[in-house]
Amino acid sequence: MGVAKEQKRRGNRDKIVLWGVLIILTIIPIIRPLGLPIPIDPMTQEFYNIIEDLPPGGKVWLGNAVGSGIIAEQLPGILGCATRLFEKDLKIVIFNIIDIEAETIFAQRSMPELENRGVLKEYGKDWAWLPYVPGVETALAAVAADIRATITVDHYGTPIDQLEVMEGINSVNDFDLVILFGHTTPFFAYIRQIVPSGVPFITQGLTMDLPLMMPYYPIQAKAIMKGLNGAAEYESLIGWPGLAISASDVLNTTHSWVFIAVIGGNIFYLYNTYVRREE
């Protein structure tokens, strides 16, 4: 039984070292971002340029489908993008069509941050926030064709006809750019219902969904922000360091540590198997 006890004790020691360092390497960048250099992926640069090239007074459809399951990767993305849109001279309309939780999550998590950053403009004149519409793809198709046929009041309950920003906006064709934050279900719904209208379409994809979304670039999707790393690159481009940048630091530290641990484990294994066996 002695050997098993010894092996168990060594197993516990390995775990404590491996996980102790992992926790430390996670906490430090969250408390104080390390400011490690963030290489910019060409796709994120394209996402940034498309927004920068919008004409003054351009109209933007911001599709928010960030449910609780994908907050970790997409909340920083939509927050950075909304910040940049508000900073520029644009008319923004936020749609929460496909995900029922997206509206409450945007209200609880994104709005306070946008207020802290002091970028919010006058509601009703510069931007509007439209409520959730049940029906997933059928609802999206209906709203894209004729907004007023499906949506009558905004997030706060005021009739949308009283909102100055909504004048001249009847369907998706009245927009200069459509942006979506969500996973594959909303993405494919937008590909089928929004992209055929010809309005340029850009989006953020979850890291694990990228293999499914890449084939749609560049024809249907003009630019795809690649998961949390893409959001960190976008945050550094717009000069608003946030959750994504600190998360990107943590990805660097934790992945390097696991990489070193596996290499070390193998060196230790080879030494034990070949070198020590000869002695």
Partner: protein, 204 residues
């Protein structure tokens, strides 16, 4: 008599359901029957959920009454269940403010934390099992290390990690997984046939 109740009738129900599902695949008029059958399966599954809850409740009541080891955690489970049922049945069903609060701060948080804890298990599993024990194991270790480090943002500055990783995820993964999926399909067809012929009785 019992063999009819126990074997013949369940086999007939399962076989008929399979044939209706086949029919719906090729004949339009069968769609109505097939949709009804699928809804029946959802109803029976809902009753099965009720049954599972009842048998779990009985288990925990017995654990409490017999003071089995850890019986106080049985009280916690029953308390958690009762609390959730009360707030869930407040009008509008599974939509009341109390339900949203309890669901957010217990269910959602626990779901995210238990998912996040996978970072512990995967890092320890990587450390313990990604060892170059054999040629095959070395293939796995090399592929894993490349695809893992490529996801660290800094790797873009340290050489072609990202293109190498996307090659691994595009070419070898496609080839191997496609072979696995095709053969799994053959296995599912044979399994379904054995249920249809009564050779296989999962309800046994």
């Amino acid at each position: 008599m019992t063999s009819i109740i126990r074997d013949q009738i369940p086999w007939f129900i399962a076989g008929a359901s399979i044939i209706i599902m086949f029919g719906d695949y090729i004949l339009d008029p069968m769609a109505v029957i097939a949709t009804a059958l699928r809804n029946w399966a959802v109803i029976v599954a809902a009753f099965a959920m009720g049954l599972a809850m009842v048998s779990m409740t009985i288990f925990h009541f017995r654990a409490i009454s017999q003071r089995q080891s850890g019986w106080y955690y049985s009280i916690c489970t029953l308390a958690g269940m009762l609390a959730m049922i009360i707030v869930a049945f407040m009008p509008p069903m599974t939509g009341s403010a109390q339900f949203n609060w309890l669901y957010k701060w217990v269910n959602t948080v626990s779901g995210q934390t238990t998912y996040a804890a996978l970072a512990f298990w995967i890092s320890a599993a990587a450390y313990r099992t990604l060892r170059v024990r054999s040629f095959e194991a070395t293939l796995m270790v090399v592929a894993a290390m490349i695809c893992m480090f490529a996801n660290a943002p800094l790797s873009a500055l340290l050489g072609p990690w990202k293109p190498a990783a996307s090659w691994f995820l595009a070419v070898p993964s496609t080839g191997a997984y496609r072979g696995i999926v095709i053969t799994s399909a053959c296995g599912m067809i044979a399994l379904g046939l054995r249920v249809l012929l009564g050779r296989l009785r999962p309800w046994e």
